[in-house]
């Protein structure tokens, strides 16, 4: 059984169809990256997976059908989504952000989970009582990732983590992702325009164009592929 499988997924806004029969399979422990230009439908795909858009087709996490369920129910089933623009709660403190992420955990479990992520991101621990909105973009991205992971999800979705970040910070974010993946074994599905840094971190790659997956394969082979190089690596 595939860990996370999207089959024939079609979705859109109103009458307009944006996704045309997406098929994606991700194995447990993978870091999979979906590459694509602006407007390819990457964000729509993320929003469809997490239930914010009505889908046709199938989305299964460990054999459980999640397509058609409500967003907060899908979140509780173990899919954490860091939306584009990070989605931090800017008027809550860093610690409150983490508590919101772990709102389903028992109090002692939540505390130890927060302590664990403070160990991992000492900068967050230093700023526990500061408003999240006052932190830098990179720090907010780290906070968004920690908040998503605190509920111990099965699958982490990231929508363009590099958006608005300096190249050095982007590499840092992907470095952190690989580290977390190696340490916890969490499966990660990330959509990115920055193919170079994303493919370096990923084990599996997909290329999306006009709402369709047009290529897929191991990330290593995509890195060396001339066509992808031309289109996305500049």
């Amino acid at each position: 059984m595939t860990f996370f499988a999207i089959t024939g997924l079609t979705a859109g806004y109103g009458q307009g169809t944006v996704l045309h029969g997406i098929d994606i399979a991700v194995e447990e422990g993978d870091i999979a990256v979906i590459l694509g230009a602006n407007g390819a439908g990457k964000t729509t795909l993320m929003r469809t997976i997490t239930g914010m858009l009505r889908p046709r087709g199938s989305v299964q996490l460990e054999g459980v059908e999640i397509a058609g369920r409500k967003p907060h129910v899908i979140a509780r089933l173990g899919i954490a989504h860091v939306p584009q623009g990070r989605g931090t709660f800017t008027d809550l403190t860093v610690e409150e952000n983490l508590r919101v992420g772990g709102n389903r955990l028992a109090e002692n479990e939540l505390r130890s989970s927060i302590a664990r992520w403070y160990d991992f991101f000492p900068r967050l621990g230093d700023r526990a009582d500061q408003l999240a909105g006052g932190m830098s973009g990179g720090e907010q991205q780290m906070l968004a990732i920690a908040r998503a992971l605190i509920s111990q999800p099965r699958l982490l979705l990231l929508d363009e983590p590099s958006l608005g970040l300096a190249p050095k910070i982007t590499s840092e974010v992907f470095g952190v992702l690989t580290e977390i993946n190696a340490e916890t074994g969490i499966t990660v599905l990330v959509v990115e325009q920055n193919a170079k840094v994303a493919l370096a971190a990923a084990s599996k790659g997909f290329v999306m164009e006009s709402g369709r997956i047009i290529r897929s394969g191991p990330a290593a082979s995509m890195r060396d592929d001339d066509e992808i190089r031309r289109a996305y690596l500049g």
Binding site: H72, A75, L92, V100, G133, G137
Partner: protein, 294 residues
């Protein structure tokens, strides 16, 4: 001096009432993004229900308490039936018309059930006036101030110290991220409407002995509450309470000391405050300016 003190004390008492009613408007505004014009009518109906229980023989405190419990379900039901089905992206215009409609329905409904004549409503704490320095304060007015204080403390504890309160703040600040964190934002909105209705019923029941119970009893108060809501910054619960007291004091002092205003023209003060704030400082005294860095 004595007159000034007396006007201040009266202003604080009335202002607590405006602030508490403004608070119910703010809670709903934060949760649903709309100004619920029917909020005061919910409160008025709550007071009628309390009166009804009392009329059937319940002690007044018990009657008010029972009406508050029922109000929670009433407020929640109003949201479930009239607001939620329109979805998060419903136009503000539609929602405002709906709340205006509810206002008329509740107002006329109360008149239909209990008729439009004024009724007396028992005080929860009667007896000789309290002396505060050179000024005096009725016990019921003191109860209103105390109730506003207690409401503030309870809300503070809920929002700052409990999980459901944190979830509510998260849902207000960023509904989408809250949903993605597994929070049922729609249900929290419904609960907030219930909470606002409970506070409204308490406030209206405490004000009813002074205002006399009848369907239009809170009409004037609502205008002051709007002024307090806008002065406080639309989305700040403590701002609403503080601004309510400011409005109450200003209204009383202006009515007493500015020639030509007097008791009859006092309501215009509320409108002057509303317009003045919107022109000079639209975010109000305590409204949040965005602090986000991108």
């Amino acid at each position: 001096m004595q007159l000034l003190m007396q006007q201040m004390v009266d202003g604080i008492a009335w202002g607590s009432l405006y602030g508490a009613l403004a608070l119910t408007l703010v809670l709903v505004y934060r949760a649903s993004g709309i100004i619920n014009f029917a909020q005061a009518e919910f409160a008025m109906v709550g007071a009628f229900v309390a009166w009804q229980f009392h009329d059937w023989g319940a002690p007044i405190l018990l009657a008010i308490g029972a009406a508050m419990v029922l109000s929670f379900f009433g407020g929640a039901a109003a949201e479930l039936i009239f607001v939620r089905p329109l979805g998060r992206n419903a136009s503000h215009f539609t929602l405002i018309i709906i709340t205006l409609g509810l206002m008329l329905v509740f107002n006329n409904g109360a008149g239909w059930v209990w008729d439009f004549s004024t009724r007396s409503f028992p005080e929860i704490w009667s007896g000789p006036v309290l002396n505060i320095g050179p000024a005096v304060l009725s016990r019921q007015a003191f109860a209103i101030i105390a109730a506003a204080g207690i409401i503030a403390v309870i809300l503070y504890v809920i929002f700052q110290r409990t999980r459901v309160g944190l979830a509510m703040r998260a849902a207000v600040g960023n509904p989408e991220s809250a949903t993605l964190s597994g929070i049922g934002v729609a249900n929290l909105t419904t609960i907030t409407w219930g909470m606002a209705a409970v506070i409204g019923t308490l406030v209206a029941s405490l004000a009813a002995p002074q205002l006399f119970l009848q369907p239009n009893m809170l009409f004037t108060t609502l205008i002051y509450a709007f002024a307090a809501m806008i002065l406080g910054g639309l989305n700040s619960p403590p701002g609403a309470l503080v601004a309510g007291i400011i409005v109450g004091v200003v209204e009383n002092l202006a009515g007493t000391y500015i020639p030509g205003i007097g008791n009859d023209f006092k309501q215009a003060i509320a409108l002057v405050i509303i317009i003045g704030v919107l022109v000079v400082r639209p975010q109000g005294l305590f409204g949040k300016k965005e602090v986000a860095r991108v």
